[in-house]
Amino acid sequence: MTQPEINPRLLRLQLKTREQIKKETCDQAAKIKNRDDYIKALDPFLESLALSLFPKKFIEKAVIAPVMTMCIQAPMELFSAAGLPVFKLACGSHAAGNLAPLQFPALTCPMIKSLAGLLDPQSGLDLTRQRFVIPTTCDWVVKFSELTGLYGKADIHFMELPHLRENERSSRRWLEEIQALKSWLEKAGQGKITPKALHAAIQCHAKAFELFARLIELKRSQLMPAIHFALIANAFAYQDINFWKDNVRNYIDNLKPMENTLAPVLLIGSPIVFPNYKLLHLMENAGMAVAADDICSLERIFPGAVTFEDKSEYALLRALAERNHKACTCPTFADNERRINGIFNILEKEQIKGIIFHVLKGCHPYEMESGMLETQLKKKGYRFLKIETDYVKEDEQNIVTRLEAFRRTLGS
């Protein structure tokens, strides 16, 4: 991408912002490392996440140039089978948002704004040489490439996500999208993706899912802190799958039993991405533990095991397609009435009484569904608190006061 002329004032802002991102990352890392429950086994996750805030460095360090993806609809197994690493486009940095182009609307989803800042052309990252896979989930994601000026310049593969999950037509359309992604990855990667390679990748990810399910159990039994879980889940998108599995095994082996004194709550809503762990810290401060969540960057980052009928290419692709479409409860779907079932399921099973709904300002899909969920959950006698925030720190005191009041309503 040709770099536009830049005035010295803007250049200073960019340098200053990069320093701020660095500081933000270091502060968050230090905050996590200073916790009593921190264990050395978390270091690799923290390192990968810190590196994720500097895409240029991340790409330089990678042996094979990664494909940048958004959301969870593009099946990771296909990238593995193509031998291509992935760089997840998700960012929780407040400082990075300062570098977002000026044409962004005032109330922009903070994650999109922050991502736009992260991919700022002045960062030295040659975006024209990068490859992107973008499933068309929410409006922000759909317009992302256009808003950031990537459209028409970078190699972008869009996956048109059907916003209906339960009819055959949309399933067929999404399967076509998955087949198209496979062809695109074959061109971008190391040649043809054979059914054997795809099956091996599925198996590899299924083993990772097995470990992830174990982590979820540990978190739900409050044997591991939610911050640890968030680090591990977030880092999944930036590490080689086998490296990630080794790190998780190492973590489970070294995990120290912790005292269970916090009130368990369910966290749902907009994604929580490193280094924006503000809400997780505040909830702990207010005496609550995220025993379970329904967040696409945390528990839902693994859409589940792939159940296939046979090992033919069609069956494997169909299984992947349906796992990432029908099984996904992203609020951007139109027929999403059964999303509440998953939430009730967790609440009943884990005997959780309180729900905290996290909405990032500008994250319209979650904002839209919050009212509906609140009504349904309150009708069943659950406590519900909606926290609308962004990546700023200024509202922390206000949030913690509300969280403490909410904690008191949950009883002992």
Binding site: R165, E166, E168, S171, P195, Q203, A206, K207, F209, E210, A213, E217, G304, A305, V306, T307, F308, E309, D310, K311, S312, E313, Y314, A315, R318, A319, E322, R323, K326, A327, T329, R338, R339, N341, G342, F344, N345, E348, K349
Partner: protein, 311 residues
């Protein structure tokens, strides 16, 4: 693993049903599965044949139905119920030898990485009545022979076209049912139809799992009697997230379990109790097979993650 256990049961029952007679095992003529009487030395016979026979089945004059001789018809039915009631549709996926033959054929396809033929929901819905039509015909044709002078070569109409008749005797080295019977027009038509259906079914069974089961009149008969069965297949509506794993993993792609949003009972007419859907369900205790109220097998996320990481 349920799948391994089911395959083990199927193989044991196959050996018993096909070769058991030679070891002195006699299970009678009223079995609710495809143990074909054309297999010499089998352990028992399929009840569908009895249904079509004279004096013990529907090839009987109307006046007999109103006499004491009706017990000759009711007795095999009572024995059928005795076999059917405890296991219900579990007979299909766990015991039926013809079901196993279909699974073997599918296995060959899977070994060659050949994709399965997918039928749309509309096509599957259109196929559903066929098994009931066959059930009606296998009752009405024998009635017509006994009461309306239909030619006696129309006897055992379903057995004459059933693909089990030529295929199952193959396991005893008997190829003799692969032929055209030129005795008269009726026998020729039946034997020709049998060969066409068998050929079609073999192709269908290769490209589509449990292809024949979609047309099986035994399944229709079983479904009509499901109310008296202790086997229940239940779904917790409020915990299903609609992932669709159940529909995809079902050998006959039953969509009803996935789409059901009101009823608890999801034992549909095509269900054969293989429990593949329960194995593939990621929501804890959402799908459950029960037997006399006891939980036989229930879905669980940990089971799912364990199973599919080893597949």
């Amino acid at each position: 693993m349920v799948e391994s256990l089911r395959l083990f049961c199927q193989h044991i029952s196959f050996l018993i049903m096909i070769y058991g007679g030679r070891l002195g095992i006699r299970l009678g003529n009223s079995l609710p599965c495809f143990t074909c009487p054309y297999v010499s030395g089998c352990a028992g016979h399929c009840y569908l044949m009895v249904l079509q026979r004279s004096s013990v089945g529907f090839q009987t004059a109307f006046d007999i139905f109103f006499s004491g001789a009706v017990f000759n018809i009711l007795w095999p039915f009572a024995v059928f119920l005795l076999f059917f009631i405890p296991l219900s549709k579990l007979w299909c996926s766990w015991i039926c030898p013809f079901c196993l033959v279909q699974d073997w054929i599918s296995l060959v396809r899977k070994k060659f990485y050949i994709r399965e033929m997918i039928l749309t929901r509309k096509t599957r819905n259109n196929i559903k009545p066929v098994k009931y039509i066959l059930l009606v015909l296998l009752i009405t044709i024998p009635l017509a022979i006994a009461n309306f002078n239909l030619h006696s070569d129309w006897a055992l109409p379903f057995c004459q076209i059933c693909p089990g008749k030529p295929i199952l005797p193959l396991f005893q080295g008997n190829w003799s049912y692969f032929h055209i019977n030129y005795t008269n027009g009726i026998t020729m038509a039946f034997s020709f139809l049998s060969m066409v259906i068998t050929g079609g079914m073999l192709v269908g069974m290769f490209f589509r799992e449990r292809f024949f089961c979609m047309f099986c009149p035994m399944l229709a008969l079983m479904h009509l009697l499901k109310a008296i069965s202790p086997v229940r297949f239940e779904k917790k509506i409020h915990t299903c997230t609609g992932c669709g794993n159940c529909e995809r993993s079902c050998p006959v792609d039953i969509p009803d379990v996935h789409l059901e949003k009101v009823k608890k009972n999801v034992l549909t007419q095509d269900c054969m109790g293989c429990m593949s859907c329960v194995e593939a369900c990621p929501a804890d205790h959402t799908l459950t097979f029960k037997w006399f109220g006891f939980r036989l097998f229930s879905s669980s996320r940990s089971y799912l993650s364990r199973k599919w990481s080893q597949k």
